[in-house]
Amino acid sequence: MQRMTREQMATRVAADIPDGAYVNLGIGLPTMVANVLPQDREIILHTENGLLGMGPAPAKGGEDWDLINAGKQPVTEVPGSTFFHHADSFAMMRGGHLDICVLGAFQVSEQGDLANWHTGESDAIPAVGGAMDLAIGAKKTWIMMEHVTKNGQHKLVRQCSYPLTAKSCVSRIYTDLAVIDVTKDGFVAMEIIPGLSFEELSRMTGAVLRDGRVRSVA
């Protein structure tokens, strides 16, 4: 078994974004999706600090520090882009106009609850940013994260132990091992990387996992 690299994960997420979609990519891992969007699709990226039609990072030396993304990295604007203020930007998000947002996560529960803003440690400084707005605002909230923590702990769980970002908001999870739908019946594996069995994946998943893969008629 070969875990997917971060680039492979980004490419896998990108493959599911349809032509014409309006998408917000959260800070961290999801930002990488911007670099691997299919060239034959027009996908319009929203960044909550006030830009619809975000382009890739500028060439070195071409940075404009008035033109940044939510992660405060310099970006570019594409033809057809529009700028707006923060209340308008979050109205766009919270009003349900974005098709997809892709977020990182600490934990996702089988009900689709998301924990991605706070580890719950007593000395942690809380910082939420736009995570709670994004999680409830887009038509679909997708998660992109490692399947388990570095220490092997479950991130797909029955109940989140970390403080929640939002309840029942996640519809799909892309991990380095699998693509998992969150359904009313809980987690359903739609794809598993080659060399990993459903049973092995289940052991790395902290809640009941169903097998939703379409079997080829062999």
């Binding site: 960044t47 909550e48 600090n49 006030g50 830009l51 940075e63 404009d64 520090w65 008035d66 033109l67 940044i68 405060k72 604007e77 700028f83 707006f84 203020h85 923060h86 209340a87 930007s89 979050f90 109205a91 998000m93 919270r94 706070h118 000395d123 400084i125 809380p126 910082a127 939420v128 940013g129 736009g130 995570a131 709670m132 707005d133 409830i136 605002g137 403080p163 929640l164 970002t165 939002a166 309840k167």
Partner: protein, 227 residues
């Protein structure tokens, strides 16, 4: 004749009172009114409540204001950043009060203050720590939390160009919170890179009409990234 242009930045911030609530524009360093914040540090007002998206970067701007121990409380969405060591230190030492607000609520609560909305129901944060003891209600089958306006005594913002009526235009994502904060404060003070003649801005493209701005001061923009 209306002339909101103030000759010196010292004059622009001279009457800011101890204990004020100050809305400070910017998302990270983009749109951060560095010159006005420096002037506020020099002016000396203390016991301030600051409302801003972040809690300062490096040692300049808001971070410098925090370091000078002028801030009692900060209301923001994302204090913790790689370069927020000044805030982090004060927070861990218990020397500053923190209220974390989801970014969309931060913007919408200031918009409500400017728009005469007494309170609003919104799904963001329901069922989370940040909803706290707030009133909730199910509307159309969905859980909502009741949120109240955030008013400022003063807003310090940065814009690109202004005219003497206080009309402001911005550059790219440096716009961010500024137009919203301008509506939510009793006194809005803008630092700008350029002053144009009245009529020099396209009337179809002014995110901040001058009615929301009390003072404008021209400065050299500090565009560079924090070192």
């Amino acid at each position: 004749m209306i002339n909101k242009i103030v000759e010196s930045i010292e004059a622009a911030v001279a009457d800011i009172q101890d204990g004020s609530t100050i809305l400070v524009g910017g998302f990270g360093t983009a749109g951060m009114p560095f010159n006005l914040v420096d002037a506020l540090i020099a002016q000396g007002a203390r016991d301030l409540t600051i409302v801003s998206n972040n809690a300062g970067n490096g040692e300049i701007g808001l971070a410098a204001l925090l370091k000078a121990k002028r801030v009692r409380k900060i209301i923001c969405s994302f204090p913790r950043q790689t370069d927020s060591w000044v805030f982090d230190g004060l927070y861990r030492a218990g020397e500053i009060e923190l209220e974390v607000v989801p970014q969309g609520n931060l913007a919408e609560r200031m918009r409500a203050a400017g728009a005469g909305i007494g309170a609003f129901f919104c799904p963001t944060g329901h069922g989370t720590l940040l909803a706290g003891e707030r009133e909730t209600r199910v509307i159309d089958g969905r859980n909502h939390v009741l949120e109240y306006p955030i008013h400022g005594d003063v807003a310090l913002i940065k814009a690109h160009k202004a005219d003497r009526w206080g009309n402001l235009v911005y550059r790219k994502t440096a716009r961010n919170f500024a137009p919203v904060m301008a509506t939510a404060a009793r006194i809005t003070i803008a630092e700008v890179s350029e002053i144009v003649e009245l009529g020099g801005l396209d009337p179809e493209a002014v995110p901040t009409p001058g009615i929301y701005v009390q003072r404008v001061v021209r400065v050299e923009s500090k565009l560079a990234k924090v070192p």
